[in-house]
Symmetry: C2
Subunit: 378 residues, 2 copies
């Protein structure tokens, strides 16, 4: 057996989800509750009737990749050849880490709070990880100086999500520029940034910073899972400058050969219809306003999300988030995710997703506030 | 960069495919030319209209896995929990090798001629490979004694395809039983067998041996790509006894999270309709009879395929298969795959797929026979 696999802690989220009782309020969900746009499934099914569903090239269907590259238009990665279609953004992140780092010498810097998979994937590949925590007193905003200060001699890649899971934090335009300038000014081998923008369409602030617009050593991971309620379709992609993308395609070819041609066809349709990618974004903006009002009313300390569909709330000091989440799921009918899986800095926090109806969110929040104000221990 | 990736030779097949001229006869294809069964796409699209397309659990949709496990009914792996849905059988093989072997000590034994990905994936994972070649004078039939004799002190897994790519060789029932008995009689840690049965439905002999029926340390990789002309849908699976399957699911969870829910729904439909899995098999049986007649008429030495949709033909000694394939694609309008990518034992052979219309296959074969009888060098 692979000893690295055995060393990785099993997922806390799955263990909690298994304890969920019928009728409980699920604020643990990491996927939209909206329905996907049915017309794209119908178009792709008609396309299969005419064309079958054959292997695409390893990197994916050329026309689909061209539409995606042109849509974003990031400098140095605006052509079809800069895109590799993957099985969701999970595979996009996995093949990027596996390809770009040498486990014998390189190190991944994870900016926390962060999606736990970055560090777990590095662990699976035997790649060392360094972590830098953003500060609660800044509402976990990206602190460029802290990130730069955390770079070690072997740091070869920095993983940043924007909007971030779990905090919803978005890298601001001025910070993206400053980070890019500072990284470009460094001597020696360039440091790659893995820029995970899976929640990009669900951005609710006016000055988001798209790092690939400023920094040529950026590798982008994205998918249609969150923007278009297509989590189950597994349509993701990596965008990277050449020749890095060619190596990433090679790894992808060994791991999964190609992404689903059917899923790629859906992407082709979505990127071919103006506004289809952003069609569901308004729902999240409306929901976010109601969610922030409910959070204010709860009296709890919370992080106002810049984007994504999560909100982090603080528990009293001394109340461990895993104990709280266990109590909530076992006895109070609420699923919430313990913050510490996203970094030690969130040991007293819970991540709540707000894809449920606002009434359910508010009811769940009240139960959490009740626990926070008078925790009952078993 | 990952130095292991850099050490892997790029695919010869892709390089040859890139040289293909318009109007040439493609005997290089590794996928069906039949159309997939459209009704299953329509059913899955209706299902999305009602249910959306959400994440399944990492292992996959329970009902789909249950149908698959019960369909095969292999002892020790006949329940839903024994199945992990993957992005094609490529990911099935990848996660199996990555999970079950410890790169520091274990070794994979590849029975050649073999699908090149087994050894390439092991190389990517830093796992040592040992190879044992079946003999041309036996028409590359599986030689159980040779396989057993090749097991080294660190061999922890044996990779066997049946029907095999490229020879179409099927492990016979008596040989499967003998291999299982001998492996079970060994002292020490059990040796796993990775049994790749992606061409299972395209079996044309009467006594195929399904190793998992006899040997409890078998891990099965399969998919709907070849049986149902669904290469582009990427619906594969691993079947394995517990607890091995649980570790494989863990790796899969990091690599791709889950397989496509839409693809899984298509599998659910196919395994729910009696005969749907074997519906296209008759076409291959009819085609195979015509192909064997054409091969006999060509006068070339060939391997009569037990299954799959390939035939290997021998070139004259001294004519390297890569030189021949290059000459064929560049100047004679035929794509054929050089045998040596499947093992050194095929250095004088070509792999021809026979999914093209029989007239094209026959014409291509005549051009190859002409080259073989009077090779012209550039």
């Amino acid at each position: 057996m692979n000893p690295r696999l055995l060393s990785i802690q099993p997922s806390v989220i799955r263990a909690l989800a298994a304890k969920k009782t019928p009728g409980s309020i699920d604020l643990g969900l990491g996927e939209p509750t909206l329905r996907p746009q049915q017309r794209f499934f119908e178009a792709a099914t008609r396309w299969v009737a005419e064309n079958g569903t054959k292997y695409t090239t390893n990197a994916g269907d050329f026309a689909t990749r061209e539409r995606i590259a042109q849509h974003y238009g990031y400098p140095g990665m605006s052509e079809a050849r800069n895109v590799c279609m993957t099985t969701g953004s999970q595979e996009a992140v996995f093949v990027t880490i596996k390809t770009m780092l040498d486990a014998d010498v390189d190190e991944l810097l994870v900016v926390e709070p962060a999606f736990p998979a970055y560090a777990k994937m590095a662990q699976l590949e035997g790649i060392a990880t360094r972590k830098i925590a953003m500060r609660a007193e800044d509402d976990f905003a990206y602190d460029v100086d802290a990130i730069l200060g955390a770079i070690g001699p072997n740091t070869r890649m920095i993983a940043i999500g924007s909007p971030a899971n779990p905090t919803g934090t978005v890298l601001r335009r001025a910070d993206a520029k400053r980070l890019a300038d500072a990284l470009l000014a460094r001597a020696g081998e360039p440091i790659w940034v893995l820029f995970d923008e899976i929640y990009r369409e669900l951005t609710c602030i006016d000055d988001p910073g798209y790092l690939p617009a400023f920094y040529p050593y950026t590798i982008v991971a994205n998918s249609l899972s969150k923007s278009n309620a297509l989590t189950g379709m597994r349509i993701g992609w990596v965008m990277a400058p050449a020749p890095a993308i060619d190596s990433i395609v090679q790894t992808h070819a060994w791991v999964t050969a190609t992404a689903s041609a059917f899923g790629q066809r859906i992407a082709f349709e979505i990127f071919g219809e103006s506004g289809a990618l952003a069609e569901q974004a308004q729902w999240y903006r409306t929901q976010r306003t109601a969610v922030i009002a409910a959070l204010r009313a709860s009296g709890m300390r919370f992080i106002e999300p810049d984007g994504a569909f999560y909100a982090c709330v603080k528990l009293p000091d001394g109340l461990d988030c895993l104990d709280a989440a266990t109590e909530l799921v076992e006895r109070r009918g609420v699923v919430a995710i313990p913050g510490k899986i996203f970094g030690a800095t969130l040991a007293n926090w819970l991540r709540l997703s707000w894809v449920a109806p606002i009434e359910s969110f508010t009811e769940g929040l009240e139960r959490i506030a009740a626990l926070a104000s008078a925790p009952v221990r078993g």
